[in-house]
C-alpha cells in the first residue's frame, strides 16, 4: 500500500495540459491518462519525465535503504510484505522521492534493513539521477543528504519532541539545532486535503479515505 505522485516534465510546458502539475494515484482509473499499459509509468521515469513520487517502506534505515519484502532471513522471512513493486527503479530515476511512513517506531526505523528492496545511495558507476530527498512520519520531518548518506531531522510535528523522535528512531541521524516545529498546514491546504484530495484518494483507497473522514470528526482543524 503505497502512494505515488508524479509530475510530468517536458522540455517546455506541454501546451495541451490544463495546468502545470500532473498528479496520478497509482491504481486510479479516473486519473489514468496512460494507454500503453503498466510499463508506461516506468518508461516515463527513465526518460526523466517524472519529477517526484512518494514511497513507503516496511523498514527504513539510516542510509535510506528501504525494505518492502519482509523481516527475518530472506527468502523465509518471518513477516512477509507484498514485495518491492517498482522501488528499485523509481528510487533511482525520479529526482525527488519523498519517503513516508506514519508509524514512527524502532521496528520501522532500523539500524539496517533486513532486505534491501532499494538502496538509498548508489556507487558512482550507477546511473542515479534520482533518490530520497525527505522522510515524513507521524512525529517528524527529515531531509536526506545523498553525499553524507544520512538523514537530518528538520522539524518535529506539533505535540512531539526531539527527544521522543530520538527514542523512537533506530538509526543515527543529524539534528538541526535549535529544534524547529513543523508548521501545520494552513486552512487552505487543510481544506484541499480534506476536500478534493480525500475525494480523489477514495477511488483507490476507499477504506483509508473513510478512516481519514472519521478522524476528522474528532480532531480540531487548523493551527493550535
Amino acid at each position: 500500500m503505497w502512494l505515488l505522485g508524479r509530475r510530468l516534465r517536458f522540455p517546455a510546458q506541454p501546451p495541451c495540459s490544463p495546468g502545470e502539475l500532473r498528479l496520478s494515484v497509482l491504481g486510479s482509473r479516473q486519473n489514468n491518462f496512460f494507454t500503453s499499459g503498466g510499463v508506461e509509468l516506468f518508461d516515463l521515469a527513465a526518460q526523466g519525465r517524472i519529477d517526484a513520487f512518494f514511497l513507503g517502506g516496511g523498514q527504513i534505515d539510516g542510509q535510506a535503504n528501504i525494505n518492502l519484502v519482509g523481516t527475518g532471513n530472506y527468502p523465509r522471512t518471518s513477516v512477509r510484505w507484498p514485495g518491492s513493486f517498482g522501488s528499485a527503479y523509481l528510487y533511482f530515476l525520479v529526482p525527488r522521492v519523498i519517503l513516508f511512513r506514519e508509524e514512527h517506531t524502532r521496528r520501522v526505523f532500523v539500524p539496517r534493513v533486513d532486505f534491501i528492496s532499494a538502496p538509498g545511495v548508489s556507487a558512482p558507476e550507477v546511473h542515479r539521477p534520482g533518490g530520497p530527498r525527505a522522510l515524513v512520519t507521524s512525529r517528524a520531518l527529515f531531509s536526506f543528504d545523498a553525499q553524507a548518506a544520512g538523514f537530518t531531522l528538520q522539524s518535529v510535528h506539533p505535540g512531539h519532541s526531539a527527544a521522543e523522535v530520538r527514542e523512537n528512531t533506530g538509526f543515527a541521524y543529524r539534528e538541526a539545532l535549535p529544534t524547529v516545529v513543523t508548521p501545520p498546514p494552513d486552512r487552505f491546504a487543510l481544506a484541499l486535503l480534506r476536500g478534493p484530495v480525500r475525494e480523489e484518494l477514495s477511488e483507490v483507497y476507499p477504506r483509508f479515505a473513510a478512516v481519514l473522514a472519521a478522524e476528522e470528526l474528532t480532531a480540531e482543524p487548523g493551527p493550535p
Binding site: 523465509r76 507484498p82 514485495g83 518491492s84 530515476l93 556507487a123
Partner: protein, 274 residues
C-alpha cells in the same frame, strides 16, 4: 459459436500443464478467476507462476492450493483488504521458491520475450538484495559509456498465459481497451488462453474505433465465454471488486483450515455455476 478456438473452461485449463511457466496479469487488468478455478480442479502442480507485474487473489488461491512451485513477481497484494495470508504462510514455510523482482523488470523481461530478444538492459536494481538473490540477472559495463554499470535481464517467454477480457469476436480477436498488459502477455507467451464477458457479432479488427485495442486471433489459442469470469476481482467498465467477498476471503484464509474450507466451497460453487 462453432469455431475451433471456442472451448469450455475445462478444455482451456487442460492446456495448462504441471511444471509449466504460467503468466497472469495484475488484479485490475482482467484476471480469469474462471479459468483459474478449472486449473485447480485439474490438479495441476509445480507451476512456475510469473505475474505481470503483480498478483493478488489469483496467486493466493494457486499458492494456497499447493499448485505453485516457483513464484516470480514484484508483489502479491490484496490491496486495502490486507496482507495475502497464504502467500505469507508459504513464504514462512519455505514451500515456494521466490523470484522477487520489480514491476519494470518484469515488464522489460516480458518485452524482451515479445521481441524475441535474449535479454534486455534495465536501470535500477544495482545495490538491491533483489539483484543479489537473482542468479539469472547480470550486471555489465554499458558498452556505449564505460563506467556506467547496468543490469541485464533474460527474456521471459511463458509457456502459457491466462486472463479475462471484456469482448472477443467469433474469429478469436480479443478486445482489451486500455489494458495493454494483456497484449504483452499474449505476445510474449507461447500459448494464450482467454475467458471473456461477451462475444461480438462483428469482426473486431474491422471496427476502426476498436481495432487498435485488439489482440489479434493469431496469438489466441483458446477462448471461453464466462460472464463474470473475473469476479470477485474488478473488470473495468463492468464491475468493481467485490469488497465483501474479498474481506471474507482474507479472514477465512488466515488459517490453513479456513483456506481449505474456502477453497472447497469456491471450487464446488464454480461447478454449479458452470
Amino acid at each position: 459459436m462453432g469455431q475451433a478456438g471456442w472451448q469450455d473452461l475445462a478444455a482451456l485449463a487442460a492446456q495448462v500443464h504441471s511444471g509449466c511457466l504460467l503468466a497472469v496479469p495484475k488484479d485490475s487488468s482482467g484476471v480469469s478467476m474462471a479459468i483459474t478455478r478449472e486449473i485447480l480442479r485439474s490438479g495441476v502442480r509445480d507451476l512456475h507462476l510469473v505475474c505481470l507485474p503483480t498478483s493478488g487473489l489469483q496467486a493466493e488461491v494457486l499458492i494456497g492450493a499447493g499448485a505453485v512451485r516457483t513464484l516470480e513477481t514484484s508483489a502479491v497484494s490484496l490491496g486495502e483488504f490486507g496482507p495475502a495470508p497464504r502467500f505469507a504462510a508459504a513464504v514462512r514455510a519455505g514451500t515456494i521458491r521466490l523470484l522477487d523482482a520489480t514491476c519494470p523488470a518484469l515488464y522489460a523481461a516480458f518485452q524482451a520475450g515479445q521481441k524475441g530478444l535474449p535479454f534486455i538492459p534495465l536501470r535500477g536494481l544495482i545495490g538491491s538484495d533483489l539483484l543479489r538473490m537473482r542468479a539469472d540477472w547480470k550486471v555489465i559495463d554499458n558498452p556505449f559509456a564505460p563506467g556506467d554499470a547496468i543490469a541485464l535481464l533474460p527474456a521471459i517467454r511463458p509457456d502459457v498465459c491466462v486472463f479475462h477480457a471484456p469482448l472477443a469476436d467469433a474469429e478469436g480477436n480479443v478486445f482489451i481497451g486500455r489494458e495493454r498488459d494483456l497484449l504483452l502477455l499474449a505476445q510474449a507467451s507461447r500459448r494464450c488462453l482467454v475467458s471473456v464477458e461477451a462475444v461480438s457479432k462483428e469482426n473486431l479488427l474491422r471496427d476502426p474505433a476498436r481495432a487498435g485495442s485488439v489482440i489479434p486471433a493469431i496469438y489466441v489459442n483458446g477462448l471461453a465465454r464466462a460472464p463474470g469470469g473475473a469476479q470477485p476481482l474488478e473488470l473495468e467498465g463492468h464491475h468493481e471488486t467485490d469488497a465483501a467477498q474479498m474481506s471474507a476471503y482474507v479472514s477465512r484464509s488466515s488459517t490453513e483450515a479456513g483456506f481449505r474450507a474456502f477453497l472447497d466451497e469456491w471450487l464446488s460453487l464454480g461447478k454449479v455455476a458452470a
